[in-house]
Each structure stands twice: as C-alpha cells, then as structure tokens.
C-alpha cells in the first residue's frame, strides 16, 4: 500500500477525492464562474442555462464516487501508487515542463540578445518565417524532452539519449515544417 491512503482502502481514497472535487465544483466553481443558472428566462421563455450541463457532469462524478463508497470500496480491484512510482512520474513531468519552456522562449531570447548586442532592431515575431531561427526552440526543446525522459528511465544522462532527441526533433521538423507552409512548430504560433 502506498503512502497516500492513511486509513482507507485505495478505492475509498479514490472515491473521497472525487467526492470532494465534485462538491467543490457544484458548490463553488459553477455558481461563481457561469453567467446563467440552470434555467434562464429569455425572450419571455424559459431556456436551458449554461449551468445545467456542468452541474449534471459534476453530478455524475458525485454519483460515481458515492457508488464506489457504498458498493465498491472492497472491490477486488484495488490500486496503489508507491512513493518511488510517484517520484519517477514527477521527474518525467518536470523534464517535459522544462523542455516546453525552452521550446517557447529560447528563440525569442536568442534574438533579443542578438538584437541587444548588434544594435539591430530585430524581433523574433517578425523573423518566424526564417529557416533556422524558427526551428531553434523546437530543436533544443525536443532534444531536452526526449533526452531527459530517456535519462529518467535509464537513471543517467547519456550523450546517446541527447543525440536521439536531436535527431528525432530534426525528423519532425522535416516532416511537419519544411513541406507545409501553413503548419507551425512551437513557438511560432504564439509570438
């Protein structure tokens, strides 16, 4: 049994989490973040408001959690998540987040730096059609993502992992970007 389930069966733990989630959605999120109620008077008729559908959706979650609590808490299918497993998973997610932010910001940072040094008035946004410039973030970000994930599994960072990441990013550029004028690789749609 993992570290999360203090005095409960894992099923009960799952159910309680979703029960709380559903109650928060129903009691806090929907009332405060939707303009119209369940039903709304419009053009002198009652029409279905924007709250109805999310309320039913959260109702399903609530009902499902209640079913587990009442009937399925001792179900034979019990699932656990050990601490080591959680740490491994967290490492993967962090690697991906780092890679995504490199992908997003590397190009603009390089151009801004170059502009500052050279005194030229350059903006990444206006150069995002230029081969090379528009690829740098994706190439390095992709390399970090793949190389990093392989490293997490293998337990060490190898040159081989980074090279695989670089090659694969290059392949994706060749597949998605070069033949298709309208397809944009990260971050060229954001800038």
């Amino acid at each position: 049994m993992g570290p999360f389930y203090f005095f409960m069966t894992p099923n009960k733990f799952t159910a309680v989490i979703f029960l709380v989630f559903a109650i928060v959605v129903l009691g806090v999120w929907i009332p405060n973040d939707v303009e119209t109620g369940l039903l709304e008077k419009m053009r002198r008729h009652w029409v279905i408001g924007d709250s109805l559908a999310p309320t039913l959706a959260a109702g399903f979650v609530l009902f499902g959690a209640a079913l587990i609590l009442l009937f399925e808490k001792r179900d034979e299918a019990q699932f656990t998540m050990a601490a080591a497993q959680f740490v491994f998973f967290l490492k993967l997610v962090i690697v991906i987040l780092v890679a995504l932010s490199v992908m997003r910001h590397l190009g603009p940072i390089l151009i801004n730096t170059y502009a500052a040094i050279s005194g030229l008035e350059l903006e990444y946004r206006l150069l995002r059609d230029v081969i090379g410039v528009k690829h740098i973030g994706f190439l390095i970000g992709g390399m970090i993502m793949i190389g990093g994930m392989i490293a997490v599994v293998e337990g060490r960072l190898s040159h081989r992992a980074l090279v695989i990441g670089l090659i694969w990013s290059l392949v994706l550029i060749l597949v998605y970007d070069l033949p298709f004028e309208d397809l944009l690789l990260p971050p060229n749609g954001d800038v």
Binding site: P54, A57, G165
Partner: protein, 525 residues
C-alpha cells in the same frame, strides 16, 4: 439514380479521383495510394509494442488536412488513409502479442494467451497466420454487415428519432459506456463526468465563456486534440514508462523468432477454424454496432465464448497454445471496426478511439456530415454524401483486399519492430504527439493542456479508471448539451421531453437499466 448508380459512383470516386501518378497510361488515384500507405503504416504501428492505430491516426490527421485541405476533395484520400491505418493496426497488433507476449494494441491482449505459448512451441509463424486469417475474415464480415445495415439504421433513425429521442440516445450511449467500459459503474461514471465537465469549460450559449475562471487561456475551452490525445496517448506513454520501471520483463525476455518452417495453413485447418471465427465475428459485429463499447470487450467475449464451447480433449487446453484461442480473439476484435461505423455514419456517435478520429476527420473536412441524410437514396437529385459513403465503403474493401493478399506477408515480416526499445520509442511518441497538437492549435497553452490531460490519463489508469468513457464523453458532451437545448426548445419548452416521447423514455429507462444490471452483476462476483 438507382442504388446501383450510387454504388458505382462511389467506387468511381475512389478509383477515378484526382490522380497521383500513372503507370503505363493507367491513372492511379490518390485515394488508392493513401489507402495503401495507410494500411502499411497501420501494420507497422500495430506491430510496435506501445503504439496503436489511434496514435497513428491522431498524429497523421493534421498532416493530412494540411496536405489535402478542407474541401470535399480531401474526404476520400484522408478517410482512406485513416481507414487503412485502422485496419492495418488491427492485424499488426497480433505480432507482438504472439512473439513477445505483449499486446501491440489493447484488444490483442487475449491473443497473447494462446499465441505466445504457440510461439514458444516453435509455431510462431503458424500462430501469425491464424491470427491474420481470422482477423481478415472477421473484418470483412463486419464490413459487409455495415454496408447492408447502415442504410437501414439511417432509415430507422430518420423515421423514429427526433430531437428528444436523439438526446435520449446520447444519454443511453454515455451510460452504456460508463457501465460497460469503465472498470466498474462508479469508476465509469467518474470518467464520463470528468470528460463532460472538461468539454463544458469555455463553451455554452452565454457570451461569458463558462468555467474559464476569467482567463483568456480557458476562454476557448480545451481543444479536442488536447484532451483526446492527452488522455489516450500521453497518459498511455506515462503508464507504459511506469510499467517499464516497475517490471524489468522487457529487458530480460528475448523475442521469439519466426523460424518455423512448415507454417502453412491447410484448407482443412481453415475450415475447422471457421465456426469459431464466425461466432466471434458475429459477437464482434454486434458489440461494434452498439455505441461506445470497444474491441477489447469484443475480444474478451469472443474468447470466452470459444473457450466455453471448446472440448479440451481435442487439441489441448485454452491458454496453452490452441489455434482456436487466437482465432476467436482476432476475429472478434477485428469485426468491431466495420460495424462501429454504423453509429458513426448515421448518428455521429463514435464507438471506439479509431472511430473518434474518423469522426474528427469528417467534422473538419466539409461535404460529409454524419447523419441519416447521408443515406437518402434520392432518385432525382444526386446526393453527394451518399456517393461519399459508398466511396468510404470502397476504401474499406480496398484495404480488405490488400489485407487478404499481401497483409499476411507484411505482418509476418514485422517481427523486428519489437526490438525498438520502449524507453526510446515512448518519449519520441510524446514529442510527436505534442507536435501534432501544436500544429493544429498553434498555441503553447494547448501543449500544457495536453500534458495536464496526460497526467489525468495516467492517474486514471493507475486508479483503474478507464479513460475511454472520458474521451467519448468529451466528444459527445457538446452534442449532448446542444441536442438537449434544441429538443427543449423544439418541444415548446417541455421540461419533461425525455419522458413524454415514448422512444426517448425507453432509451432513458434502458440507460438506468444498464447501470443497475452491470453494478448488480459486478456486486455478485
């Protein structure tokens, strides 16, 4: 315009469409090329442990759309390719199951039970042949049922289903999926509820994008690609990497080579397998025609039915390498795909992940709108959608023909795919998926959404909650709300429209019934 005219036009639309190139003056249409390439890609992907047909379909969709555009001309090449992938992957999925004891696709899990023991006995190639023969037979059977059944289903839908009934049918589909696929009714409901909640963010009728917490980021809601690919593919990538960490089976086990010499299947052997295949094909077709239940359940049912009827005295016990075990599984899971298109074409309700991507393609490309009007045999004015429908059927049979002729050989040569180390393949798939999402959505937030959904998909898998109800709910959620609003308005604001229309009431009763029955059955186990 007779029925035959429509069929003929559909066939012509495939073979005489825009040509790719010509050989000795014979024009080869682009659609044909696309079906062929899709089919081979499908086998390759299916044969790769950790990849499945929907992954390839999802990733190629944006490329296909930007190559062929959104015009009606794009429809057959794009759908042809996707159908090719779908069919190829179904066959290919058996390869790692038999050679490596790892199902290439989830529905091939039952294939491992008898396929791997056969391979260990030195009959790997034979097992692959059986898998191929059964798979193709089941698939073809299902396609025939689709072509004959779809127009009738459409007529029934058109005649009996008005907006209230359509609303009730969507509810029935969702409750069916929650109850049958979810692992347990409670878990299925949670999965469905989360999927609905996710799709309701940012959408709605009001000018204020609901549940967007006042942010611009959430105002446009979660793009369909982020939630579907996130939960299905990225979630699976995390789970597979996790499995890789926890069991070192992959590194220890050596794949079995396909070296057995006398592997041919005689006619007598094929005939002996025929009843098993037929039974499974019927099971798979029926399961496929019901919205929402996938091929994994069909495979389980097919296998169980064959096991129950099997006499251990002749040919050994199930699970120890019986050809019938492979045949029962492969015929059943392959028979799902054709029949699955019945609810897709006439109602726009997808039954499994592959159908989800076919539906997405139909939605993005103009000129084909899944609804009963597709099957209106208009004798005076040409109904172009019907021609397209027959075009789609033609691509299916083209893929089947490929499958019967060269599919087996290609599939048996795919043994090498299982040598690609998963811990390199999976991160590569992740980057590929994120790239495919970005080129569709062109904003970095979409990648964060996808990652978030991936985390959700992973946690759902860990806690035994099937992600499929989530995905189907996400896809049908907007439609459910819109249809309900429309039904409510159309009935002159009758709040009880689900119960005052008899067919709708029956559907609603069935929805409740399905829930109660499945939870009872599970409770007694």
């Amino acid at each position: 315009m007779s029925v035959l005219d429509y069929i003929w036009l559909g066939i012509l639309a495939v073979f005489q469409g825009p040509e790719a190139f010509s050989i000795f003056g014979l024009a080869i249409s682009i659609t044909v090329i696309m079906v062929i390439s899709g089919f081979f890609l499908g086998i390759l992907v299916g044969a790769t442990p950790g990849l499945a047909g929907p992954v390839a379909m999802a990733i190629s969709l944006p490329i296909l759309i930007s190559t062929f555009g959104y015009n009606t001309d794009a429809l057959l090449p794009v759908l042809g390719f996707l159908i090719g992938v779908m069919k190829g992957a179904t066959v290919g999925g058996a390869v790692p199951a038999i050679l490596f004891n790892t199902p290439g696709t989830p529905d091939a899990f039952m294939t491992t039970l008898d396929g791997y023991p056969m391979a260990k006995r030195g009959e790997a190639k034979r097992a692959l042949r059986i898998a191929h023969f059964s798979s193709v037979s089941g698939d073809t059977f299902s396609d025939l049922v689709l072509i004959i059944g779809a127009p009738f289903l459409a007529i029934m839908v058109e005649r009996y289903l008005d907006l209230p009934e359509k609303t009730a049918l969507l509810i029935l589909s969702l409750s069916f999926i929650s109850a049958v696929v979810g692992g347990s009714v409670g878990r299925g409901l949670i999965s469905t509820g989360l999927g609905l909640l996710a799709v309701y963010v940012g959408t709605g009728e009001d000018f204020y994008p609901r549940l967007s917490v006042g942010t611009q980021t959430l105002a446009q809601g979660f793009p369909i690609s982020t939630s579907v690919l996130g939960v299905l593919i990225i979630g699976a990538v995390f789970k597979e990497l996790d499995d890789l960490r926890s069991d070192q089976r992959a590194s220890r086990m050596k794949p079995i080579t396909t070296s057995d010499t006398n592997s041919a299947l005689t006619l007598a052997e094929r005939i002996k397998l025929a009843p098993t295949i037929f039974r499974s094909a019927v099971i798979g077709t029926v399961v496929g025609a019901l919205p929402g239940i996938g091929s994994t359940l069909a495979a389980t049912l097919g296998y169980t039915a064959a096991k129950r009827r099997h006499d251990d005295a002749e040919g050994g016990k199930f699970g120890e390498g019986v050809p019938k075990g492979i045949a029962a599984t492969e015929a059943a899971n392959s028979a799902v795909s054709g029949a699955n298109l019945m609810p897709v074409l006439s109602l726009g309700i997808p039954g499994n992940a592959a159908a989800v991507f076919l539906l997405l393609a139909m939605d993005s490309i103009s000129g084909f709108n899944p609804s009963p009007t597709v099957f209106k045999f208009d004798p005076v004015n040409l109904n172009p959608e019907l021609v397209m429908a027959f075009g789609i059927f033609t691509t299916m049979f083209l893929a089947n023909a490929l499958n019967w002729t060269v599919g087996g050989r290609v599939m048996r040569s795919m043994g090498f795919m299982i040598r690609i180390p998963k811990h390199i393949l999976l991160p590569s798939v992740l980057l590929l998926t994120l790239t495919a999402i970005y080129v569709q959505e062109t904003r970095i937030e979409a990648l964060y959404f996808a990652l978030g959904f991936g985390v959700l998909g992973y946690l759902m898998r860990v806690f035994g909650i099937s992600p499929l109800p989530f995905v189907i709910a996400f896809i049908l959620g907007a439609k459910l709300e819109e249809t309900a609003r429309q039904a409510y308005a159309a009935t002159g604001n009758d709040p009880w429209f689900l119960f005052t229309h008899p067919i709708a009431a029956v559907f609603v009763a069935l929805s409740v019934g399905v829930m109660i029955l499945t939870s009872r059955k599970r409770g007694s186990v």
